[in-house]
């Protein structure tokens, strides 16, 4: 799982093709949270939030990471940026394993990798003006000293669709959508090449969602950004992403180009996800696949394939073998032992 071939533009209306060069290579990423219990607070178990996750992203690509709540997608996104320290695995950025870097070494890499958060209300320090918030990035890395800074902040604000005079205001004076734009401006302030967008539109009203998604798309094209777009809404992801990674209970289930995933899913979980997405055409009758049972606990995931307890195609072997991520078509990978379904 080390190379990604060039991929055709996905279902989104992207014009800029990917260059084929790998920017980010995640290998066997693992994040376990220890659970303490008992009289002396010993470690009695682990929440296996991210378990043996591997994928790569090429320069200029927009890759979607989808899964339901508890799938580990947010944890994975933050672990890649080392906002949460991974408990295992490697993250190669431009060939360097950033998990091994010291804090000082990491700081230079931080300029290249930024994050946009989900909650527009918690992601901005309420005590700082917009200028302070965006300017902090420049302050930390000593960019644009003096008057240049104000100019640059103004430029960034305009780029995200706000006005320069907004820089003197405080976050509580803006709406949710506007605050997300501020967050985007902050992320762009250091000229990163890679951005993790952690459910950037999930907390916004639907009408605003479209605006922000379009903004992200425009920015990505203009600046040639590489984006990992985390979401739980397949429709949004399909629109903007070239490829999509599907996660469940801390593991990768399927990776495929967007259109291909939509038309030709190879994993039972993806099939169920797609069937649950509403289609705005009342004449289309679909067979809804309702998954039985609840999500298992990530403390004690099912043996073998973690999805088997809710999979309608499960067989005995599914409990014994942890399925590897296999390439079943060019650029299309699935983690399932069965080839006779879908």
């Amino acid at each position: 799982m080390t190379t990604i071939a060039t991929v055709a533009p996905g279902a989104g209306q992207r014009v800029v093709p990917a260059t084929g060069e790998t920017l980010l290579d995640v290998q066997n990423l693992e994040k376990f949270f220890p659970i303490r219990g008992g009289l002396l607070s010993r470690v009695v178990g682990n929440v296996k939030a991210v378990n043996d996750v591997s994928f790569s992203i090429g320069r200029g690509e927009v890759v979607g990471l989808v899964g339901e709540s508890g799938s580990g997608k947010t944890t994975a996104g933050r672990a890649i940026l080392r906002l949460i320290e991974p408990t295992g695995g490697q993250v190669l950025f431009n060939g360097t394993d950033i998990t091994k870097l010291s804090k000082g070494q990491m700081r230079d890499y931080r300029r290249e990798m930024q994050i946009i958060f989900q909650d527009p209300f918690a992601s901005l320090n309420p005590r700082m003006t917009v200028a302070d918030i965006i300017g902090e990035a420049m302050q930390i890395h000593n960019l644009n000293p003096g008057k240049q800074r104000i100019d640059r902040i103004a430029e960034l604000l305009e780029k995200v669709g706000l006005r320069p005079e907004h820089m003197r205001r405080y976050p509580h004076e803006f709406s949710g959508g506007q605050r997300q734009r501020i967050g985007i401006a902050r992320a762009l302030a250091v000229n990163p090449s890679f951005i993790v967008a952690d459910e950037p539109v999930s907390a916004l009203d639907v009408s605003i969602q479209a605006q922000v998604v379009n903004l992200l798309q425009d920015l990505q094209e203009e600046l040639g950004l590489t984006v990992l777009f985390i979401a739980h809404d397949l429709a949004v992801v399909e629109y903007i992403c070239d490829r999509i990674i599907v996660m469940y209970l801390g593991r990768v289930m399927e990776i495929a180009p967007s259109r291909e995933l939509n038309n030709n899913p190879k994993h039972p979980y993806t099939e169920a996800l797609l069937s649950a997405a509403p289609v705005p055409d009342p004449t289309v009758k679909r067979q809804r696949i309702i998954l039985e049972g609840d999500i298992p606990s990530p403390i004690n995931p099912p043996s073998g394939c973690v999805f088997r307890t809710r999979c309608r195609y499960a067989i005995d072997d599914c409990a014994k073998i942890v399925p590897e991520l296999r390439e079943v078509a060019p650029g299309h990978f699935k983690a399932c032992i069965r080839d006779d379904i879908l």
Binding site: L83, D108, D119, A122, R127, E136, I140, H141, Y170, R186
Partner: protein, 378 residues
């Protein structure tokens, strides 16, 4: 058709959080009362030397007038002139109790004089604002009369003057001890919350142990550390130190809790993602968010310390002679025994001041708490 020139719209000034809090505070009537009262009390403390007709320890060794009642002030003299004056004091024997009693000697009259300086009287010289020596008094009388607005104590010292000077100690100890407590609590709580692990456990265990001993007994025990007859000024600092030692735990817990919850906030993560150093995160993102709690803590701690100091002085292990605090002045009422309360009820007056100061701070504190709470916006 006329073209109208659009009237320039005044853009509303961006409101920082602090200005919102201040305007909310101003709208609270009780808070305003509290603030006004505090202003008066602290003004009184600053002007203590000016307001007090006598010095803190001024009494006559030759003509001691112990336990004189408050001197009545007369306004219209025998000739019909209008102006405040007092009569002289004469000692008499009370026929019922066979004890000394002081009555007015109407043969002697002394006018009350305003804005007099008293050169040469060292006891009445004070340092205004700490460095300007002067003996200017708002009002006073010349010898041989005495102006005991609130009576005299067993040495013959004017209680009114002592209450004025007492305000300096009572009101300042509260603030100094609080500032010390805040510094201690911030450092300890900040370290515990940011670095977690063993440091956190140690510090929190310390807080727990300190709070396991009931406050009064801890105060007494700590006071036992130092000789009871230590230098009075040293005692002043000892009291402040003791108060800070028992107080920092509460704030440390609050600061720690705040930091523990703040550091998980997205905007702190964002700062980390940007590459901010630990120092920057603590200073710019974590500590300012504790500011609210620190302010509220201060407004609760100050009256608490005023009460604690009064209590300590009241039972004799706080401020000692020759200095006075409202608590130690109240001790005079207690020491005389129950009958003295009836004979000299004015000895209770310092207590009124304690109540006023504490109530004023409580109003201000409640007002601040409400002003910070977005749910109680007026």
């Amino acid at each position: 058709m006329t073209t109208t020139v659009p009237t320039p719209v005044r853009k509303p000034r961006s409101q920082s959080q602090w200005s919102i809090v201040w305007s909310q505070f101003k709208r609270n009537p009780l808070a305003r009362v509290g603030l006004g009262l505090l202003g008066l009390l602290y003004l009184m403390a600053i002007l203590a030397g000016f307001l007090a007709p006598y010095g803190l320890t001024e009494y006559s060794t030759t003509d001691r007038i112990s336990w004189a009642p408050p001197t009545p002030i007369h306004w219209r003299d025998a000739q019909g002139h209008f102006g405040p004056y007092v009569n002289g004091i004469r000692r008499d024997i009370d026929m019922e109790t066979f004890r000394d009693k002081y009555v007015e000697d109407t043969s002697v009259t002394c006018p009350v004089k305003f804005f007099q300086t008293h050169p040469g009287m060292e006891g009445r010289t004070y340092r205004f604002l700490g460095f300007i020596p002067t003996s200017l008094k708002l009002f006073s009388v010349d010898a041989p009369c005495k102006l005991y607005l609130w009576g005299s104590d067993s040495y013959g010292r004017d209680q009114f003057s002592r209450v004025m000077y007492g305000s300096q100690i009572s009101l300042s100890i509260g603030i100094i001890a609080s500032v010390l407590t805040v510094i201690l609590g911030l450092i300890m709580g900040g370290i515990a919350g940011y670095f977690r692990g063993l440091t956190d456990t140690l510090i929190m265990r310390m807080v727990e142990v300190l709070s396991a001993i009931p406050e009064l007994f801890l105060l007494i025990t700590l006071r036992a550390l130092f000789p009871l007859n230590a230098d009075p000024i040293l005692v002043f600092y000892i009291v402040i130190g003791i108060l800070a030692v028992i107080g920092w735990g509460g704030l440390a817990r609050i600061v720690r809790g705040q930091i523990l919850s703040s550091r998980e906030q997205d905007y702190v993560q964002a700062a980390t993602a940007l590459g901010a150093s630990d120092t920057r995160i603590i200073a710019k993102h974590l500590l300012p968010n504790t500011a609210t709690y620190i302010i509220i803590f201060l407004s609760l701690a100050i009256p608490g310390f005023i009460l604690s100091e009064s209590g300590l002085s009241f039972i004799g292990i706080g401020i000692v002679e020759p200095y006075a605090s409202w608590g130690s002045l109240l001790k005079v009422a207690q020491d005389g025994g129950f009958e003295s309360l009836d004979a000299r009820p004015w000895t209770l007056i310092p207590g009124v001041f304690i109540v006023l100061a504490v109530l004023a701070w409580q109003f201000v504190g409640d007002g601040l708490r409400d002003a910070f709470d977005p749910r109680r916006r007026r």
